[in-house]
């Protein structure tokens, strides 16, 4: 290997807050050659972002490098004084952050922000810097860059803002680009566009890349090597192919197994990782993963494993070789199914499913006035068409998945289905009764049938109530049982969701994210509903915890004969949980059908495009370009036509429903042949 561009040796970082010190990074070694791409992956709190921030000396308040070196072009950045670091930042190392909505200055023009690094690091005049900035904006794919130069960030969409952030990081043509979760805040189609852009620019400018992400899917096709981090250390480090083919560290293996997209069989529960990562206020003895590892022995609990190339091996001289810090690694045989060894017990049998419809939505539409206030409606303003004529049926005992990008109206659909909002037109029927006709006591009784599980259960629980009161509230409102009966009922609910009964005396904020989703599910089930509408129930969770919640939801569905309307932006999750799916785009359902049919043989070009953005590239794939139009002025006819490769003038008229048997239908003039 050539002389590395960046070499990190034994990096230690402490974060000191008022109450405690966290040893956030504990001996990180990494090498990066010029032009190479390295992925840093791991769940929240593993230290991947801190590692990236350390390189530029941008640690958060209280953060301090306590040991180690960061050699960049031969200079130790860990020990460099601030002026030296300033010379590196934005000049030879560019950085892109996670949230494009907040990482640009709201009151400064885009042109000024992109030109700023040039003014700082080069001797270009103001006019030259602006010309170069404009050129860079064109290069990152911003349409009409000259005009955009004078715009402010709020005038651009999230995806466009992230392009601006990339232009800003690259305008001085750095040797290294650090991208910290650059696509996490974006929709899948935009995500794909941004990653493609980074790839192309990297090839063009010949720079190295450190891509920090929690998303294993993102990393697979974008980097040369991957470092998997856990608890402030590197657990495994390998070129990308061997790592994905045969992960050796038991943590990496478990992480892969928990991914819904890698589940061998959707009918089977996902493999999960119990527990949660260590709190690093004290240095753990032994392997940091041991408390959660099914293979841990006494050795793991007492001695800390080093990064080696085998159980008896040493540290290879080549710092890019496949190494892992595990005493009991998974087998090295390439091609061996890592999941086979940790296959979860008892394959699930599909529940007996009656075909009786439970929830029926008919021509459901909801629009909001554009500007609040009393005059909006009188002026006859069209407003925002959030949901535009959706009909669907959820049968008893099934899971109906709604998938779509942000702003497609899927959450509004969920709120309409539970009756949290009233539809503008159309009807919601539950068990044959129209929600709009129910009043008073009837309506209250109806509430037992349908419950909502929120994305953020913490926000959905009164912070001043203990868990006991939170879980009892639905029973009290509905007047179910006496005190003792209610206590028994909530004890049973806590057992069901796998939380200790002692939880009743604690407050919701004392629980972790995964535990709070368990509480949210327990409360939704308190009234023994037939239908639970789950709005992004796992999107705030790490992969290993996500698997726990998905398994739990499925187990309880079998046990209690529940139906779910499962709303998510995550295709893999929906595919894993749903029996049937509906794909939404700009307030319309463009395709519905059995999960396998929709995902394997999509009819609608949008569904296809959505799937192609997360699938391995193949020549026939058509990833989506462009951006979703505003719901305030949706295109006529097929709302997708502005981004569709097949669209003709016919598409401006309402598209017909086309089917391919077994309830698989799409609304499209030019359905795809599967």
């Amino acid at each position: 290997m050539t002389e590395p561009l960046l070499r990190i040796d034994d990096l230690h970082v402490d974060i000191t807050t008022r109450d405690r010190t966290v040893h956030a990074l504990d001996g990180i070694d990494l090498d990066l050659a010029p032009g190479e791409a390295l992925g840093l992956v791991g769940e929240s709190g593993c230290g991947k972002t801190l590692t990236a921030l350390s390189v530029l000396g941008l640690l958060p308040a209280g953060g301090r490098i306590t040991r180690g070196r960061i050699l960049f072009h031969g200079t130790d950045l860990a020990a460099a004084p601030e002026p030296v670091l300033r010379g590196v930042r934005g000049h030879t190392v560019g950085m892109v952050f996670q949230d494009p909505l907040t990482s640009l200055n709201p009151t400064m023009t885009i042109g000024a922000q992109v030109a700023e690094p040039l003014r700082l690091h080069t001797r270009l005049t103001r006019a030259e810097a602006r010309a170069k900035a404009e050129e860079m904006l064109g290069l990152v794919g911003l349409p009409r860059p000259a005009e955009r130069m004078t715009h402010y960030p709020h005038q651009l969409s999230g995806g466009m803002r992230q392009r601006v952030a990339i232009a800003m990081a690259l305008v001085c043509e750095p040797d290294l680009l650090i991208a910290d979760e650059p696509t996490t805040a974006l929709d899948v189609t935009t995500q794909h566009q941004i990653l493609e852009l980074v790839d192309a620019l990297r090839a063009r400018l010949g720079m190295a890349l450190i891509l920090v992400t929690h998303d294993l899917g993102v990393i697979a096709r974008r980097v040369d090597r991957v470092a998997v981090m856990y608890g402030g250390r590197i657990a495994e480090h390998a070129p990308v192919r061997p790592l994905f083919a045969a992960p050796r560290h038991r943590y990496t293996q478990a992480l892969f197994a928990a991914l819904p997209e890698r589940a061998p069989d959707p009918a089977r529960p996902l493999a999960t990782v119990p527990g949660r990562p260590p709190v690093l206020t004290t240095r753990p003895t032994g392997c940091r993963f041991a408390p959660r590892c099914g293979f841990a022995t006494d050795l793991c609990r007492t001695a800390e494993p080093e990064l080696t190339d085998g159980p008896d091996g040493g540290r290879p001289a080549d710092r890019t070789a496949h190494t892992f810090a595990c005493f009991h690694p998974a087998g090295p045989a390439p091609g061996a199914d890592p999941v086979a060894e940790i296959r979860p017990p008892a394959p699930a049998t599909a529940p007996p499913r009656a075909d009786a419809p439970l929830l029926r939505l008919t021509d459901l539409a909801k629009s909001y006035p554009l500007h609040g206030g009393p005059f909006a409606r009188r002026r006859g303003a069209a407003g925002i068409s959030a949901v535009a004529g959706i009909s669907l049926t959820v049968r008893r005992g099934e899971t109906f998945g709604i998938v779509g990008e942000s702003g497609c109206g899927k959450s509004t659909l969920g709120r309409l289905a539970v009756g949290l909002e009233a539809p503008t037109t159309g009807t919601v029927e539950v068990a044959g009764r129209d929600l709009a006709t129910l009043r008073g006591g009837e309506l209250r009784a109806h509430r037992r049938e349908v419950q909502l599980m929120f994305q953020d259960s913490a926000a959905a629980m009164d912070p001043r109530m203990r868990v006991g009161a939170v879980l009892t509230e639905p029973l009290v409102i509905q007047g179910i049982g006496d005190r003792a009966a209610r206590q028994r009922r909530i004890a049973g609910l806590l057992d069901d969701v796998g939380l200790p009964r002692g939880a009743v005396d604690r407050y919701p904020h004392e629980f972790s994210g995964g535990q709070r989703q368990r509480l949210g599910l327990a409360r939704a089930l308190a009234l023994a509903p037939s239908l639970v509408v789950a709005d992004e129930p796992v999107s705030a969770l790490d992969v290993s915890v996500q698997a726990q919640i998905l398994n739990l939801m499925r187990a309880l569905q079998r046990e209690k004969g529940l139906s779910y309307l499962f709303i998510s932006h995550d295709l893999a999750v929906v595919r894993h949980v749903a029996d049937r799916v509906g794909v939404m785009y700009l307030g319309k359902l463009v395709e519905t059908g059995p999960a396998e049919a929709v995902f394997d043989r999509p009819l609608h070009p949008y569904t296809r495009g959505l799937l192609d953005t997360v699938r391995p590239p193949d020549p026939a794939s058509r990833p989506l370009g462009g951006e979703t139009p505003s719901a305030a002025a949706p295109p006529s006819g097929c709302r997708f036509r502005t981004r569709c490769a097949f669209a003709t003038e016919r598409c401006a008229a309402e598209p017909p429903l086309v089917g391919r048997g077994a309830g698989h239908v799409a609304s499209c003039h030019f359905p795809l042949r599967g």
Binding site: P274, G419, P500
Partner: protein, 301 residues
């Protein structure tokens, strides 16, 4: 590895409940503690002080007028011959009683008004808030003086007059709070269980707005005490022999030219102390309850 994991090590470390958090937050905040101690000392001074230093605060004694501090009169005497130390105790009662009562009354009225407007929203809210906007547009002192000239001051009247102006800012504050709390997910969740408006207001909105109300009440009392002083300064105080710190101070202004400093500084410092103490207390409570009041303080004075 199991499929559903009740994992015992999953438990988060125990975190104290809200009440405990408020108490610890309070203890940590030295400023708030200082405020509480100053208040206790001032209350003792005004209500227990006369037991140690009994004086006649009803009858004037012109033979004793305008004495400098000395034996028998540690802080000297006023132009009417009252012992100033005793008068400070006596006047402090008025300031504290009127301030406390007016501040609490204003908070109560404002809270109810604001909560109603915020909870109902729509037209009632728009109408109710424009009314407070208009009343707030007239600077408080002008409004206070006009109202005060219409009536003959007595303690209860003074309390009502001050409260009639001071309720406006808590009304705005609580309206914003109710508006925000109304759309919290836990209120939505409760509606989906079949719960109604009464439960939303009494079980969820009011308990969660309590921190804001309590914090605002302390600031409101501080302001009410200042209003008493301002009214006295503008010549709208209780008729003699009643007194308050503000009237003592404005009576002293006449004698600044001749150097009777003792008539000015003791009542002035007393006002500053008590108002600062309530502000300290409010600031500490704000940290402890972790509430954010929107604009800076004093926008209503």
């Amino acid at each position: 590895m199991t499929t559903t994991a009740p994992a015992p090590q999953d438990a988060a470390p125990a975190v104290p409940g809200p009440v405990r958090r408020v108490l610890t937050g309070f203890r940590r905040n030295k400023l708030a503690l200082t405020g509480a101690l100053i208040l206790l000392a001032l209350l003792a001074f005004c209500f227990l002080g006369p037991l140690l230093h009994p004086t006649d605060q009803i009858h004037t004694d012109l033979t004793q007028a305008n004495r400098a501090p000395g034996a028998g009169h540690p802080l000297g005497t006023t132009d009417l011959g009252y012992d100033l130390l005793g008068r400070l105790m006596y006047g402090g009662r008025t300031s504290l009683e009127v301030g406390l009562a007016a501040g609490l009354l204003a908070t109560l009225v404002g809270t109810v008004y604001g909560a109603v407007a915020g909870y109902f929203g729509g037209w009632p809210d728009a109408v109710m808030m424009r009314v407070t906007d208009a009343a707030l547009a007239i600077p408080a002192l002008f409004l206070l003086v006009v109202v005060a000239t219409l009536v003959t001051p007595s303690k209860p009247v003074l309390i009502l007059v001050i409260a009639s102006v001071a309720w406006l800012s808590p009304a705005r504050l609580l309206r914003g709070e109710a508006l925000a709390l109304r759309s919290r997910d836990y209120v939505h969740a409760m509606r989906l269980m079949g719960g109604g408006g009464t439960r939303a207001v009494f079980r969820h909105i009011l308990p969660n707005a309590l921190g804001t109300v309590v914090v605002n009440a302390t600031f409101q009392i501080a302001d009410a005490i200042l209003y008493v002083a301002y009214l006295s300064f503008l010549g709208l105080s209780l008729p003699p022999p009643a007194a308050d710190w503000g009237s003592l101070l404005s009576a002293g202004i006449t004698y600044t030219q001749v150097g009777h400093w003792w008539l000015i500084f003791p009542p002035g410092i007393a006002i500053v102390l008590v108002v600062a103490a309530f502000n300290f207390l409010g600031d500490g409570l704000r940290d402890a309850f972790d509430v954010r009041l929107d604009t800076g303080r004093g926008s209503h004075r």
